[in-house]
Structures are given as C-alpha cells and as structure tokens.
Amino acid sequence: MTLTVTDLAITRGGIPVLEGLSFTLPPGKALILRGPNGIGKTTLLRTLAGLQPPLTGRIDGAEDQIAYASHSDGLKPTLTVTENLSFWAAVFGTKDIQPALDAFALNELSDRHAGNLSAGQKRRLGLARMLVTGRPIWMLDEPTVSLDKNAVQMFADAVRAHLGQGGSALIATHIDLGLDGEVLDVGPNKAKPKPIDDFDGGFL
C-alpha cells in the first residue's frame, strides 16, 4: 500500500500552514518528518489520517490503512494495561495482544492500571497500540517523547520489524532513531501569506 501525496495544502484553525507538499511513502519504507515547531507536522499527520480535510491537493492510498498515534495515547487510567490494549485490538478487529506487550516490555505491567504508569510507560503502551491495529501505514507524532534510551531502542526495533513486514511509517520526530528512512523536511513548504489584493487593500 503506497501512500502518495500530491501538491497538498493544509490549514490549522483556518490559516494555511503548509502548501505544495508532494511525497510518496512506499511499503517497507520510513519517512522522517522534520521541521521547526509550529510548521504543521501534527496538522499534516491529522490530515493524512483523515481527521481533517486538506485545503487543496490529493492524498492517494486508502485512509483505512492508516494507524495514527497522536500526542496523547488514548489510555483510560482506570483500565489495566491489558484491558486498554485488548480494547483497541477489538476495535481494530485483531485478537492477539501478546506480541505488542513483548515488543514494548509491558508484560510485567500488564495488570497495572494505566493511571499508575509513569509517563514513559504510558507512552510505551500508547505505541504498543500501533501493533494491535494491524494496519500497514503508521503515522506517529513525536513518538519518543518521555521515552528513555532503552525504550527508544525498543520503539526503533518495532518500527524496523514493521517495515520488514512490508509496512511503512511516517514519523514526526526531532531525534535520530537510527532508522534508514528518508528525511522529509517540510520547512520549505511553509505557506506564504496571501498577497494583499486590491479588494483587501482597500480596507487598509
């Protein structure tokens, strides 16, 4: 499943943030999304995940192939680690959560309430959710926030395994994950302010 984006322009709060963005994400590849704060990386991921419509441009590649991980992990503090993961597995129609628990070393924590986990442990659980979705295209928004070195390695290994199985990933991050993915710097695609035309100028 190849994701192809052609001449995409996106808005945040009605203001254009990125424009003229084109790239392809073939199976087995990772794309590292870079750019300064506020450039619209999160907005881009949300648009690709189908949470908001693009201003212009085309996104080819089925929306229902995308698994999206936002800044927040979508965990319920009063449910245990296993219950949280099993819920998402059931929503996505998969059954087996054991590989996800193994990949992020959550076995020891499986009976703990998510509310009692540390920030890094919660993040690991949030990332483990990606494995139970069973979807080929991963969209990750700052996945390594509050992870320690070990856990970053775990995450990089999980992404590598995912790519090895023919999946793909678009990762917005500021750190080097040691993945051999291409870097997509969206800095040059910053939307230019619309020039003031005669009509608007008349008000000034």
């Binding site: 229902d64 979508g74 503090p77 009063t78 449910l79 929503v91």
Partner: protein, 218 residues
C-alpha cells in the same frame, strides 16, 4: 462495537466513573421536595409525576458533559475517529452506554422514589413505562449536545442550555403520561407522542451527532 460498549460500562463502574451520580441527584431531589412544599399528601400526589419526571431529566442532564469530554481529553476520540468503526456507531454506542448507566437506573429507582412523593397507586406502572420510553431519547439528545460542545472548556453550561429546549417535548409528553396514568385517565395519545419522539431521535440524531463530531475534531 461491543468492545466499546463493554469498555464504557466498565469505565462507568470503576472508581471515579460517575455511575450513581444521576441516581444520587434523583434521590436528593425527591427527598427534598416534600420538605420544601409541605407535608400535605394530596398536594404531593398531584405533583409527584411531574417532579419525578423533572428529577429524572435533570439527573440525566448532570452526567452529559462527561459523555464525550473524557474521551476527547485523553485523545481516544481522535483514535476512535481513525478506527474502523463509523462515527455514527461510536456515538450510538456512547448513547447506549449512557442510557444503561444513567437512564436505566433512574427508571428502576423511580417507583421507590414515587413512594416518597405519595404517587397514587395506578401511577407507578405508567411512571416506569413513560420513563422507560422517554429516557433513551434523553441519552441520544444528550449525546448530540455533547458532540456539539466537545472540546470547549467548561462546555457543560453551554451543553445544558443547548439540550434543555430539546428535552422539552420529551418532558411534556412523558410527564403527561405519568400524570394521566396516576389520575386514571387514558394515556394513549401522550404515550404515542412520547414513543414517536424517542423513535425519531434514536433514528436520526446519531447522524447529526457524528457530523458535528467530525467538524469538532478538525
């Protein structure tokens, strides 16, 4: 879908889930009314159907602002919107879970609280029937209001103001069924109106809720 329903029910019964909030409010209202209006049993039995219906409605309203807000805050609403479930199904299940944890307990508690207000004997069955038919509409309308205000800080106030007028037809016909039932009059007309309102809201409002939710998540 079953998984979402089970999760919501589980969450409601766990610590801090808010199950019992509506029930406690309903109890407080019906216990306090006799103190405030005085102990004349004839007056109490006249107003009992209306007070019980109003109490149930306000108890229902009380729990609405958590209906979608919690899922929005922890990000699971975004994730549900990108999941294979259609949003229409998500809001329907959410409304169903709300009814099972708030509406149904109110229906079951109403006859016991009716005793406190000296509800006439023939009124008990009609009170339960009217609440049983009317409360699903309150959950579905409430979910629509919650979808409209999700993401707003302190949206609960706006939610109440938006939802209250939509509750009025259900309240009028529901309380009318209970009142007529209690005084031995025929109840068919308001009962049919009440059932019609519930059927229409359950059939149509989930689509509206899903549509406004999509816009709100942008």
């Amino acid at each position: 879908m079953i998984a979402l329903l089970l999760r919501d029910l589980k969450l409601a019964f766990r610590a801090g889930g808010g199950f019992g909030l509506g029930l406690a409010f309903f109890l407080i209202v019906t216990v306090l009314v006799p103190f405030s209006v005085g102990p004349q049993s004839s007056l109490l039995s006249t107003i009992a159907p209306g007070v019980l219906w109003l109490g149930a409605l306000l108890a229902c309203l009380l729990s609405l602002d958590r209906l979608l807000a919690l899922d929005w805050e922890d990000g699971s609403l975004d994730l549900l919107a990108t999941a294979p479930l259609p949003l229409e199904a998500v809001v329907t299940i959410k409304a169903l879970a709300h009814w099972l944890t708030t509406g149904l307990p109110l229906v079951l508690a109403a006859p016991f609280l009716g005793v406190l207000l000296n509800l006439p004997a023939p009124g008990f069955a009609w009170l339960v029937i009217s609440l049983l038919i009317g409360t699903p509409a309150m959950s579905v309308i409430g979910t629509f209001g919650a979808a409209l205000t999700v993401g707003l800080k302190r949206g609960g106030l706006l939610l109440s103001l938006l939802v209250l007028p939509l509750y009025v037809p259900t309240l009028i016909f529901g309380a009318e069924v209970a009142r007529r039932g209690a005084t031995g009059m025929e109840t068919q007309t308001p009962l049919l109106m009440l059932a019609g309102i519930t059927a229409a809201t359950v059939a149509l409002l989930p689509f509206a809720s899903a549509a406004v939710l999509r816009i709100n998540l942008r």
